[in-house]
């Protein structure tokens, strides 16, 4: 018969013991009078052990006291007598259903937080943070922009014209921070705004613009982002979301990456709303300047090329060019104010990146 082993949880001494199964489970050392331990059956629990042994603990004994038996007969007898072997404090497996349900609830809460909570928080926080705090943010990003695109174009005539243009916009937009425009060399027809009022137009976009009205619409759109503080909001939103997603899900299964993809879909829908508002801001500015809005639509159309059969997509972050063009044409008014730049200035602006 395999020996029955007992460890009292006070010392590492290994004792070969005998069991007497009476009122309680009595553990005695052969040759000794008093019992080493006496365990009530209902307090005996099964814990982890090798596959061929039954290892027991007792909730009424020192927590690490262990009884280990390999003998099948004794094993069966214990199973018969102890009613709560797999009760609380045992090594019984946890209910998968409970873990799964709790995970599902937690995941739903996080998704709700990411979808509704964080954008709301970002908007509220962005309103609370003074504009002056945005400046260092922009300053931090700016050097990276220049490592990618190189220095801003600096032909003096063009710079003067660009500053004049942005000043006209600022006169009606009245942003609390002075916008600081620049043109960067890139084939990509695009423009973007940094937090803190820096607005960059890429030379690819400038090359496609045919009149100051077209360009000023884009500039006003970007200033709309500055006014809405979209850069700051996006930063808070992305930071918060990445944090939640990254920390809570870990990357054990790599689920972080997939959730990241989900985040892009999510953020696209928020961006779409922001773009529409920036367009509305541009329309308002153009109206105050007394300039038509249709040329901006024409420029957008020129950049995106002929209309494609586009189905609405979750991933698209800008409103459809056709929709935007229609909106800009609907709000169009014949010019009532003076031209923003004269022929000479416009030509200088177009040549801003010439060396």
């Amino acid at each position: 018969m395999e020996p029955i082993l007992f460890f009292d949880g006070q010392s590492s001494r290994r004792r070969v013991v005998a069991l007497s199964l009476g009122e309680r489970l009595e553990i005695t050392e052969p040759g000794e009078g008093a019992a080493l331990a006496s365990w009530p059956y209902h307090a005996v629990r099964r814990v982890d052990g090798p596959e061929d042994a039954l290892r027991l603990a007792c909730t009424a004994a020192p927590p690490l006291a262990r009884l280990e038996l390999r003998d099948p007969a004794a094993w069966a007898e214990i199973l018969r007598r102890c009613p709560a072997l797999d009760g609380p404090g045992s090594a019984a497996p946890v209910s998968i259903r409970r873990i799964a349900a709790a995970s599902l609830a937690a995941t739903a809460a996080i998704i709700a937080m990411v979808w509704f909570g964080i954008p709301l928080l970002a908007a509220k926080l962005a309103d609370l943070i003074p504009y002056s705090w945005e400046k260092p943010l922009g300053d931090a990003v700016d050097p990276r922009v220049h490592t990618i695109f190189g220095a801003a174009c600096d032909r003096p005539g063009g710079v003067t014209a660009l500053n004049k243009l942005i000043q006209r916009v600022q006169e009606v937009a009245r942003l609390p921070i002075t916008p600081d425009p620049g043109v960067l060399r890139s084939m990509v027809p695009n423009a973007f705004a940094l937090p803190g009022g820096r607005v960059y137009v890429l030379s690819g976009l400038l090359a496609q613009a045919q009149s100051p009205d077209e360009l000023v619409g884009v500039l006003a759109h970007e200033l709309g982002h500055v006014a809405r503080r979209d850069g700051l909001r996006g930063l808070i939103r992305n930071g918060g979301t990445s944090f939640l997603v990254g920390l809570l899900f870990g990357d054990v299964t790599g689920s972080g990456v997939v959730l990241m993809a989900g985040r892009i879909v999510l953020s696209a829908s928020h961006t779409r709303a922001a773009e529409e508002e920036a367009d509305a801001f541009a329309v308002m500015v153009m109206h105050h300047l007394g300039r038509p809005t249709a040329p901006m639509g024409a420029l957008l159309q020129r950049i995106t090329g002929p209309a494609q059969d586009e189905a609405p997509s979750l991933l698209r972050d800008h409103p459809l060019p056709a929709e935007r063009k229609a909106m800009l044409e609907r709000d169009n008014a014949p010019p009532s104010g003076p031209a923003l730049l004269d022929e000479m200035e416009w030509r200088e602006l177009k040549r801003i990146c010439d060396r």
């Binding site: 590492s12 061929d52 943010l137 931090a140 990276r144 990357d251 698209r316």
Partner: protein
Amino acid sequence: VKAPKPVFDESFTIFPDPETIMSASSISDAFLLTPVTFTGRNSAFRRLVTRGALLELITFGFYRFWLTTDIRRYLWSRTEIDGDALEYIGRGKELLFGFLIATAVLAPTFLVYFVIGLEVERYKSFASVPLYALLFAFSQFAAYRARRYRLTRTVWRGVRFWMTGSGWSYAWRSMAWGSLLPATLGFAYPWRTAALERYKLSHTRYGNLPGSFKATGWQLFKRVWWVWLLWLVPLLLLAGGVAAIAISNGVATRPPAFRAPKAPGAVVAAGGAILIGSLMLVALPFLHAIRRAREWAWWAGGIRFGGVAVACSLSPGRLIGIYWKLIGLGILVFLGYTAIAAGLTAVLHYRAPSGGLPAMLMQGQIPIWGLASHAVMYLVLLVALGLLARIYILQRVWRRVIEACVVINIGGAAEVAAAGDTVSGFGEGLADGLDFGL
């Protein structure tokens, strides 16, 4: 007492020092070798981790706390020292709570980290890179605290292991030694490992029996220096070859009058270097097995608890098969993934309205089912690779290392009084939150 005759090949094993021998209750005890055995079945572990991986998928990763716990319970309870199995008494719930607390601590930390990074970036682009060092220090702190959690959940013969010492003190040591690594091309590694193991083990206790680490950096260096040198050769050859080709191509595009006459020779030499470098990459699994085997044996041989010592004779051949199986299966899994992903992409391409996939990507109009199926494919790939890693890098290697070890003078642990108490899973949570694969 005369030094004992070596039982194992000396290059693999470190012997009990005279101190250990003297502290044994009797001479025969001192030379008594007690086997350490692993009784687990591979199939049981395979089932455990496969089921766990599927549950991880279903629970969005939350099951990882319970899976980690189950893996440890399996490994511990099948590891027998002198016939008595270890017991892991940690629970998944503790890991979950530790993780939640760690999240609460990490959130403001990351915010401060972000703000500091922003301030630094203002002065110079990419100047915030040294801040990663801080995160590394934090992860070392977490590693120490996580080890403490695991130890206090490890029980043998009704007495637990535990640990004193400070996580910050450990992190500081790890950083200081780590800063020597690049300067010495990695040759400081043995001394770093020895110093860190010394710190960890001299703060480890089994009941009231203090642990210590007696192996030295020099001993490890003697065992692995040539492996590391051979490892560097293919990397340096590859880097050199690529650089040479780049340079000679730069020369070749110049007008003929400026072309250096020995350019073709340089290209041939560089091509040769790349070829040799690539061929030697095949040798890396072997080199890795040798290094790992020698390092495990060195490490185990340095462990002491009071007068109890460990000796280990792990031959590299025991690990090479495991690594090749892992590589082969990994390649198979990856090929399967590539084939299915390519098929999926092709379907997307041909179902695209006009202009095919590129146009669709440009407009950001991928249909949701395409996105979802790619995401699922990717998850399945990661789960499969994770599964292979757990089976081959964790359980199979564990088995080999355990089977290669013996305990010397087990009598020194015959009657150790229990001491120490449990600590929370905070450290494990931190380590989970800071897991950058370091």
